[in-house]
Symmetry: C2
Subunit: 326 residues, 2 copies
C-alpha cells in the first residue's frame, strides 16, 4: 500500500516536473502576459500581415498578443485608445503612429511607467520608444528602380505615379530616381505626377502620361491604388505588356493584376517581420534578457537597436500565390 | 520488489520527462548546435562586445557560440577562415566583412548550402546575406552634433578630426555637419582634418586647429584614437574643459579620459546588440520560426529584415563605469 502511494507520488512528480520545465525557459512567458498592437484605420487589410507576425511570435513565446486601434486616421482618437491600453499595464506595446508628434506624450508615459514600447510602420522619432521597425522606403524605391530597369532592358522612358508631399512616398520616389541616375543612365524619368492614393486620379494621370509620351516603356507606382489605376489606363490604351508596371504593396487588387500579367511586379513590405521582431524585442526587454550594458535602466541607455529596416521583396507572377492573405 | 522497481521507473520517467520538456520549446536549441562569429583583426577589444551579445543569446537559447577570425585585416586570410567555418556545416554564421566584395562569394556559397548568414558591423551588401546589423553612422554623427552643440550652448566654432575616404567615417562626418546646419545654425564647422585613425597624427592635427582658431569651443572625433590624440593637444594647450571633445567608441583610453573630464562624451556603438540580435535571427531561421510568407525558401523571399541599425548611446562621466569591459 505504501509502495503504491510512492508510485503515485512519483508519477505526480513526473507530471509536475515536466509542466514546470515547459514553462521555465528564458523564452517562455506566462499565458496571462499581454502584449498589445495599436494601429489607426484599424480595419484595413494592411495591418493583418503585421499582427500575424506578432501573433506567431506570441504563440512561440507562450504569451498573448492583442490587436486594437483607432477606427479612423484620427490622432486624438488613437491617443485615447493608447491611453486605455496603457491603463491596463500590459507587458509591452507595439504602436504605429498616425502622427509622429501626437503620439509622443502617451508613448513617453508608457516608457516611464516601465512598459516597453516599440513603434512600427510609422514612427514617432522624438518619443522615447526603444525601437522603430518599418520599411526603409528609400531602399524600397531603389529595389523598384532596379527591377523596372531590368524589365525594359536597361534603357527607355519611365514615369512615376506617387503621393506628393507624404514622406514615405517621397522617399520611395527619391530612391527610385537616384538609383536610375546612378546605375541606369539610359533610363530617363520623363514624367512624375500625384495620384493622391486614389485609383481614379491615378488612371487619369497615367492616361495623360501615355498620351504625352508615346515611347513610354515603364511606370513606377509608389502606392497600391496608383498601381491599380495605372493598370486600367495601360490596358485601355492597348499597351498591356508593352508599358511595364512596378507597383507597391500586396492588396488583393494588385495581386490579381500580377496574376493577369498587367502589373509586372510589386514591392512587398515586410509586414510580418514588423510584428514578429516587435514581439521578440518587447519580450526580450520585459524578461530582462537584453543587457547592452549592465544597469541600462538607470543610465539613459536604450536597451534595443534604434531602427530595423524590415525589408522588401519583389512580388511577381512566379511567387504571387504566397502573398495572398490566408 | 516489483513495487520498488515501479518507483525507480516512475522516478526515471520524471527525469526523462523534465529533460524532454526542457529541450522542447521553440526557442531551445541543441547544445551541439554551433553558431560562428567570424571577424578580421580578430584580436582587438572591439569585437569582444559583439561576441558577448552573441554568447549571452546563445546561452539563453541553449546553443553554442564560437568565435574565430583572421588575425589581420587581410581579405584573403578572412576568406580562408570563412571557408573553413563553412566546411563544418555550422547552424549559422555572423560575419563582419574586411571587404564587401571579397567576402561575397563565400557568403553566397554558405547561403546556397542552407547555412543562414548575417553580416554585422561591416556589410557585404551585394551578397545573399539575410540581414546586416550595424551602426547607422549618419545617425551616430547626428547624435554627436546634438550633444556637442548642447555642451557649447548652441553657438560657437567647432572642428572635426576624421578618417578621410573611409565610408563609415564619412557618414559620421556628414550626419554631424548636416545636423548642425539644420538644427544649430549658430554652430560653425571651421576646420576638418584627416587623422588617419592615428593618435599622433590626431594630436598634431588638433594642435593646428587650436592655433588657427583661438575661439574654437568644440571638437568631434569620428574615431577613438583621434579622440585620445585630440585630448592630448587640448590638455597641453591648457584648454581642457574649455574646448569640449565628443569622441567615438569605448576603448579603455577613451573611457579613462572621460573619467578624467578631458573628453566630455563618446558615442558608443551597439556592439552587444549586434551579437544578440544576430544570434536570435540565425536561430529563428535555423529553427524555421520565421515565416514572412509560406515557402519563402523556394520563392526568392528574404526570411529576415534587411538592415538593423543597432543604435548608439552617449557615454559621459555619469554612465562611463557601465562601459568598461568586465
Amino acid at each position: 500500500m505504501k509502495r503504491s502511494l510512492a508510485v503515485v507520488v512519483a508519477l505526480l512528480l513526473a507530471l509536475a516536473f515536466s509542466t514546470l520545465a515547459l514553462a521555465s525557459g528564458p523564452f517562455v512567458g506566462e499565458p496571462k502576459e499581454e502584449y498589445y498592437m495599436v494601429t489607426f484605420v484599424s480595419g484595413i487589410e494592411y495591418w493583418k500581415g503585421c499582427f500575424a507576425g506578432m501573433e506567431d511570435a506570441a504563440q512561440l513565446l507562450g504569451v498573448k498578443a492583442i490587436y486594437t486601434g483607432a477606427p479612423q486616421a484620427d490622432v486624438n482618437q488613437q491617443v485615447t485608445v493608447l491611453e486605455q491600453v496603457i491603463a491596463k499595464s500590459p507587458a509591452g506595446i507595439a504602436v504605429t503612429c498616425s502622427n509622429p508628434d501626437g503620439l509622443r506624450a502617451p508613448i513617453d508615459k508608457a516608457i516611464e511607467a516601465g512598459i516597453p514600447v516599440v513603434t512600427f510602420d510609422a514612427d514617432s522619432p522624438l518619443s522615447k520608444r526603444y525601437c522603430y521597425l518599418g520599411t526603409g522606403n528609400y531602399n524600397a524605391g531603389a529595389m523598384a528602380a532596379r527591377y523596372l530597369a531590368g524589365l525594359i532592358g536597361g534603357k527607355g522612358e519611365v514615369a512615376i505615379s506617387t503621393v506628393t508631399g507624404q514622406l514615405n512616398h517621397e522617399e520611395r520616389k527619391a530612391g527610385f530616381i537616384d538609383t536610375l541616375a546612378r546605375e541606369y543612365p539610359n533610363v530617363k524619368v520623363v514624367a512624375t505626377g500625384n495620384d493622391n492614393n486614389d485609383q481614379t486620379i491615378a488612371a487619369t494621370l497615367v492616361a495623360g502620361f501615355l498620351q504625352a509620351h508615346p515611347n513610354l516603356s515603364g511606370i513606377f507606382c509608389t502606392d497600391a491604388l496608383g498601381g491599380v489605376g495605372a493598370a486600367t489606363s495601360v490596358r485601355e490604351a492597348g499597351k498591356a505588356g508593352i508599358v511595364r508596371i512596378v507597383s507597391f504593396d500586396t492588396d488583393q487588387g494588385t495581386l490579381d493584376l500580377i496574376n493577369e500579367g498587367i502589373i509586372d511586379a510589386s514591392i512587398a513590405q515586410g509586414t510580418w517581420n514588423m510584428g514578429y521582431w516587435s514581439m521578440l524585442m518587447l519580450f526580450s526587454v520585459r524578461h530582462d534578457l537584453v543587457k547592452p550594458v549592465e544597469g541600462w535602466q538607470t543610465k539613459g541607455i536604450n536597451p534595443l537597436p534604434g531602427v530595423v529596416d524590415t525589408g522588401t521583396n519583389v512580388v511577381t507572377k512566379e511567387n504571387v500565390e504566397a502573398f495572398y492573405v490566408k
